[in-house]
Symmetry: C2
Subunit: 270 residues, 2 copies
């Protein structure tokens, strides 16, 4: 037996739990992309109980942009479905604190701002399906360009719930036809992390007037032999919450996600 190969094959990968412990101990303060490969990372939204029921219903009505992985009891900082010891107050490297829709602080834990009426929502993130796309040998253009994925506000209205309403935001990845077909197959397996694309080609059909001018993230080149392929995006709930201007809310800082104990592979429905 080749012991070198054997050592490589059995080299330990960091688990989601181990990554979270490093974050909780203040030993990791960077964006979480690439951390604990194979483990689900999630978007975070924390709202007062007074708004939580409407937001929960909004997620249920709009599962493609707002795929809800877990929601907490009011005041309870745990999300045991995503990690037995998970504490939402300490397990994310960087948070944003909002008052009346204004960003008022960025913090590395929530000990100073936690309240007994707060409800935490963890929402699926495109990292999970992007990992599957990469495993299938597909190029992610924004990674090739070392930039953020381009995102666009569309003319597709989310189904409203209470005060929550607004347009769906989509992310875009360009592919040639055969790769677009494969990308549709791969992401269809992951409905709990945005699932299949909502559109491809013809950006004007969903209200995007200039593919070179994303509303969030960075533009990437779309070659003449490629289609832009559009997925519902986790920026949608953030943008919807921003329009409601809650008296108090908390989100993760962009790129600083909640690392969970769930395996991406286990999200696949077939």
């Amino acid at each position: 037996m080749d012991t070198t190969m054997n050592a490589l094959a059995t080299a330990p990968r960091e688990t989601g739990h181990a990554a979270r412990l490093r974050i909780r101990a203040g030993q990791f303060r960077k964006p979480t992309a690439g951390m604990a490969p194979g483990y689900v990372q999630a978007n975070l939204a924390i709202l007062p109980k007074a708004l939580a029921a409407d937001f929960h219903r909004f997620c249920h009505l709009n599962p493609k942009p707002c795929p809800l992985l877990a929601a907490s009891e009011p005041g309870d900082p745990r999300l045991p479905a995503l990690g037995a010891d998970l504490d939402i107050r300490t397990d994310i490297p960087r948070y944003r604190v909002w008052r009346h829709g204004e960003l008022v602080d960025e913090v590395t834990d929530l000990k100073g701002v936690w309240r007994d009426d707060l409800v935490s929502f963890a929402l699926g993130c495109s990292f999970s399906f992007e990992e599957a796309l990469i495993e299938n040998g597909l190029e992610l253009r924004h990674q090739t360009c070392d930039s953020n994925v381009p995102m666009y506000r569309t003319n597709i209205a989310c189904a409203p719930a209470g005060p929550f309403h607004g347009p769906m935001v989509v992310s875009m990845r360009p592919f040639r036809a055969a790769d677009a077909i494969r990308a549709i197959q791969v992401t269809s397996r992951f409905p709990s992390v945005h699932g299949a694309p909502v559109h491809l080609g013809m950006p004007g059909q969903i209200g995007i007037t200039d593919i070179a001018k994303p509303d969030y993230g960075d533009a990437v080149p779309v070659r003449d032999d490629e289609f832009p392929v559009f997925w519902a995006c986790g920026v949608t709930p953030q943008s919807v919450i921003a329009t409601v201007k809650p008296e108090f809310s908390i989100t993760h800082a962009p790129g600083y996600m909640l690392v969970t104990d769930q395996l991406n592979a286990r999200l696949a429905v077939f």
Copy 2:
């Protein structure tokens, strides 16, 4: 209980076996589209044993255009995998007999031309996935137009096997983006009947110079807000066999398919 509704719900549908018995008895001589809804219909190719091994390998190498459902023993007219009592000599309403690549006869049974060295190949047919597309509420443009599906020779070379070689033929169905995505999902479930599309949009990329001029079948309109979506087509093996010009071969007549005992729903892989 509403007995009218109950009667409708339990109204007997013709089985594949019953349809085949009508054909065998000479009571049905028309194209088989719409016969025995829910049951798999198949393309037929019959070749002398001397060519059968190469053709079998060709199908294995090109599963999207040539999805092999069953192959017989030499000289054996049965295909028990597709129907316990199936007799390939009598169970198709119309056959074509070929000598050295020339169509020499159309017959309603093979009793006069059967030989002890003939091997039968039953190949999956797009009727199966079209049934699934219709069940999903998708429009098939060629059905709306009451015409044959348009088919095109492409610049995609099949993998050769012995004398068998040639370009892949594709069928085309136009869809808007969201319906194209759904059609990809639906047909991905049916790899044994051509499976997912091989291409969409940009016909020139696969060597199609004029979408309005199909090589087989009839042109259908593709609207400005639609993509042409292309599936590998069962005309491919027929076109490949034609180039080899076997001293003797038999096929079904176009539209006059082999009706089997298999259920389309059972072909779905998930």
